[in-house]
Symmetry: C2
Subunit: 343 residues, 2 copies
Amino acid sequence: MGRVKIADIARRAGVSPKTVSRVVNRESSVSDALRERVERVIAQLNYEPDRQARSLRSGRSFHLSFAYASPSSYFVINLIEGIRSACRRNGYLLVPFETEEKGSRLVLSLLEFAERERLDGLLMMPPMTDNEQLLAALDEENILYSRIAPGDQRPHELDVVTTDRAAGREMTDHLLQLGHRHIAYIAGHPDHLAMAQRLEGVRDSVHGQTNPRCKLEIWPGRNTFESGLEAAQELLSRQPRPTAIFAANDDMACGVLFEALERGLRIPGELSVAGFDDIVLASHVWPGLTTIHQPIREMGETAAQLLIDRISGRQVDALAPLPTRLVVRRSTGEAPRVDAARP
Amino acid sequence: MGRVKIADIARRAGVSPKTVSRVVNRESSVSDALRERVERVIAQLNYEPDRQARSLRSGRSFHLSFAYASPSSYFVINLIEGIRSACRRNGYLLVPFETEEKGSRLVLSLLEFAERERLDGLLMMPPMTDNEQLLAALDEENILYSRIAPGDQRPHELDVVTTDRAAGREMTDHLLQLGHRHIAYIAGHPDHLAMAQRLEGVRDSVHGQTNPRCKLEIWPGRNTFESGLEAAQELLSRQPRPTAIFAANDDMACGVLFEALERGLRIPGELSVAGFDDIVLASHVWPGLTTIHQPIREMGETAAQLLIDRISGRQVDALAPLPTRLVVRRSTGEAPRVDAARP
DNA sequence: CTGAAAGCGCTAACAC
DNA sequence: GTGTTAGCGCTTTCAG
């Protein structure tokens, strides 16, 4: 016997196929009695609607896509894990869309993809989350989307954000408490706006500090390991050099670590290094990277669930920022005494 | 105006829809004249068949799935990149299937998924590639699959393999040439058969070496960073300890590196460390991991293309193993002189 | 609130 | 070789 179809349910429940369809799609216009009867039969026969058929008729695909272009594999893979989990729960299929394209080519190819595949919705991570042109186009075409870790320039009800600013402050407080008075911060990619908030947190902390004052240097980064490495090459060549380097993500922090070890600096004796995100890498690089833990998998799952709720026409309330957590590993420690810092 | 459909092409080309369908599906029974005419119109109107409709009618989904359960995110993400690229070229959609399940639960959930989604084919990486029970079930159900980096116990025409044994030998030769005469090898997960071949290569090399003989210790691993770390804790506690540790993958090698640095060993002065795969991590850990480069992205792309060819009924010849390459970074160097190794 | 009829875009089955 | 017919499983539309 083949798989059970809507007609089988209808027959067994003594209703029309259309009524079953209404129940399956949670339409409100079904009496409680019928709904219950139909639901029982559905459960009995373990019925699941055929995605291709629904999709052909209704113009929806029941596919969600996740667009990414990230150098940070760990971040992406954990997000996918979370997204898939929400999709499975709700009968959606996840279709990854990895692309290196930028600007209007990105917009074009993403829109074409969404239309061709009749995507029900799109999930994004930075920097796409803050691509004004892309967001405008999606709004224009009425393509629903949910953003993971966007900046706050253009709030959207399906955003999943963390307490970036507070976390930036918390990490900086940690460094200040360890006695660091010359901190370099490697900023995130300028298109990645949430990272700007991390910097705000750093400033909050440093400016709150008065006695003695802390010197804060800000250096540009591009979120990649390589950009962290390059920043460190520059920062560590200076006299006096910072006693702590805080990078806006873990990949860059690992670049810093690499360069510092390359120069024979003792970590954390001569230099403290901190990152942000707590990707797996952070606990695999020696001597263990102090970082801000983000619930990456959960962020993906939440974003997908919000999007699905929205697609289904359910009421969706804007979500409070998810909490982060300072994870102290061994890359940070007491600041060297001043004379030690200038050999 | 909506999207162009098969009837539009048929009208413009002056043929029946069925003929257009035949052309689209590369069926042989179309005259060259008609085929050409139809193809021209298809190109003109930029027609692409509707996946949902084809799929509803033909019982195929035009979806490929990639099943994975790996601790190594970098490996997975690069494979996905390659697989997606082949899928896009051929009008297929990739649906990732990440699972932690094992044994018959894995078999059940994968089969159920394949059937429910009417998957056209399945891509796998170790250890699923060598799961006898799973392969038997897939064969039984006539589900086509392609395997990335399987062991050679059960050759299959859609396998994509690399020259694991030769590479294992090459790396060991490299260590021997550097003067190492006490090498520890951390083996891969026993369910991951391709890794057994790497070990064979190690043995080839060591046994070919006679003057002076090299001591080879073999230690079990589970492919994870943590298992590499544990192995190193044990191996480095011994007297005499090995002067080189070769791990069957990069994640484990990074665990070794971590433990060695933790003990204050100079790399490579007191200990050489080597890995296998050349995932991104290998070049991001300090001081840079010597490893065997595998063309990971290409492996994914090739596997997907083979699978699609096979699905389309095209002739598929078994593929020669893809070549690997020794990448020497700074984690390997001359063996310490004997007196230095026993402080 | 419920049901009947029609048809989404394509291809299997069959006819010519 | 090529075309015709029917129908995949569901939901839209419209009638009651």
